[in-house]
Symmetry: C2
């Protein structure tokens, strides 16, 4: 793995040099992990003119941490557990003779940025912007296989839940059971708080489980994901409780299913993000649900659950091969409930069989 | 409750006016919740010269949210789900004729702060600092009763775990079972990721549960907490697995117990935070464990699990009555394990019986 991290840091260093900065300070945890192999809590990565350093906020063995730091990196705990590694990194960059340091202005707070400035007044602080996030968009096969395993785990956890009795159980308990099963099957943990919505809560994006119990005739929508070696996938399904779905439930489900399929089928290298969004969205718009739609119909996944690209009406940019995204249109009717269907897929060229579906749980309307 | 939130906002407004700002923008979620009763994801609170506004990033019913917003507040969703409520709030403050706006520079990123500046160039942005965090330090009895209930829930969950078979089970599963029990007993959820450390992992602050299984003769240290109505408490205990603890285990336990008791007994209105830390720390120092000690021996709790005050050697400031804090000294011996004992208490004057212990699970060394 070590050379993978080194190659990523080299790509970033090239961008920095092109941007006129010899040194960069990476503080956003997911970015640190991407470049260093691990992100001990509070650690920052200094991409120096000469060498790269992982600066930690305390002794490594005391840091809650996923992954292991790249052995090729020298690790330092500069100023004791109390100090801010970002300040230490800035001082170090100045000592190494850098005249400017690119920092993540979208992550550093104003107060912290001021502390860096006063720690090294001679050093010009520039903006690294989202350079690392941009590097993270296209995944290598190693990253994709972590997502694939995570998706298998989520499929397993969901499949087991469907075999159990659901009526009478609360949203909270179903969510907790799903999270326990994720870990049972080898996940680091849930990729995000598991969402379980019943009846009027169904189909709500990001619904927080409540004590409402599953009832006959409910829509039940579930959204969960596994984190595997730091990589986070997502799957969402909606079911009907009881033997016979109502007509409105079947109609709404078929509609959302059609929208989600349209979105999936629009995934291709070179496709515009907004075009994928439109493909899914227009199916629901034309059925008159325009005002019931969430702002986005999908997003990238990786070390974070909500990464670039974003599939929205205003999104710029095009998809590349090897970009994993969710396609998750849904409709929520206040007071009645709704449907969400959510898959994680990897954009692949037609020649390779088109988009690779990672979350393979059936999307037929199951009556449980 | 409404008048409680209004009174809190009034106190903050007085501080702002004293600081020369007629308006304030509160963006840190726990601070928004403290002043508004709820913090819908992405919402900010504008404390205007005239009225107060909660600006949300999307329709309220679509926001994952704990608590309900104070009805006395007008709620707006300014620029659609895509917009940044902080930008909208800044524009609004300028329109209302404020010449300066105090913002939370320790929470706003550099990039976001720049967006605010360019959205209202005429408006002077000042630093609100940690004014809201300071208001939050001393709790009212309503807040303390939420912490008390949360502590009861954590005690129950821990007590039930101790009645079950532990040998052979993994740290991950014990942690998950504890979190399920917290919710069973009415918690909103865990107050922080539950830590379960066995054998060599025992006594590590913030240890992330692994797949290591409990073995005969292990130390088992557990740290968990419940969130109840947003308030987060913490309890940590260490046990021995098997009938007869080894001598070194008994000695180490007695030592940490003595340190923790010394810390608890030092809690009083007017006591210096560093003096409470020293009371606990010196017991361990004098036994030769100086280099095995964590940087802090306790911290405030409330809407966040790690609040002011901090009990460290360098801490300034004194404790007040009605300040809930943890007292959690511990010793971790790399490769061998260790002991942590952690309580949540409320500082009370001697006349009221001294510190109120919220987490009442026994601190005798239990052999399980």
């Amino acid at each position: 793995m070590s050379e993978v991290y080194a190659a990523r840091r080299t790509r970033l260093r090239e961008r920095c040099t092109a941007g006129g900065s010899a040194a960069a300070l990476v503080s956003r945890p997911a970015n640190v992990r991407y470049l260093a192999g691990a992100a001990p809590r509070g650690a920052v990565l200094l991409l120096g003119a000469r060498d790269d350093l992982l600066l930690c906020a305390g002794p490594l063995e005391d840091r809650p941490m996923e992954g292991r730091p790249d052995e090729a990196l020298s690790v330092r705990t500069p100023s004791g557990p109390a100090g801010d590694p970002a300040v230490a990194a800035t001082v170090l960059a100045a000592e190494q003779g850098a005249d400017s340091l690119a920092v993540e202005e979208h992550h550093l707070t104003v107060a912290r940025h001021r502390a860096l400035r006063s720690a090294a007044p001679g050093l010009r602080l520039t903006d690294l912007g989202c350079a690392v996030e941009q590097l993270r968009v296209v995944k290598d096969e190693e990253e994709i296989s972590c997502l694939r395993i995570g998706a298998e785990i989520a499929d397993q956890a969901l499949g087991e839940l469907l075999e159990s009795i659901l009526v009478g159980r609360t949203e909270r308990h179903l969510a907790l059971e799903l999270e326990r099963r994720l870990v049972d099957h080898g996940a680091d943990g849930p990729a995000f708080p598991t969402s379980v919505g019943t009846g009027p809560h169904s189909g709500r994006p990001g619904h927080r489980p409540t004590d409402r119990r599953v009832e006959e005739g409910d829509f039940l929508s579930v959204c969960l994901g596994a984190t595997y070696r730091g990589y986070r996938c997502e799957i969402g399904r909606t079911f009907v409780i009881g033997s016979s779905p109502a007509d409105w439930q079947i109609e709404l489900y078929d509609l959302v299913f059609a929208a989600q399929r349209a979105g999936r089928e629009a995934l291709a290298p070179g496709a515009g993000c907004r075009d994928v969004d439109r493909a899914a969205r227009q199916v629901l718009d034309s059925a008159g649900y325009a005002e019931h739609l969430p702002p986005l119909t999908g997003h990238g996944v990786g070390l974070e659950i909500d990464e670039d690209p974003r599939l929205t009406p205003s999104a710029m940019g095009k998809l590349d091969a090897c970009v994993p995204v969710t396609v998750e249109p849904g409709v929520h009717l206040p007071g009645r409930g709704g449907v969400r269907i959510d898959d994680t897929l990897v954009v692949r060229p037609e020649a390779d069989g088109g988009p690779e579906l990672l979350t393979i749980t059936t999307k037929e309307l199951l009556a449980l």
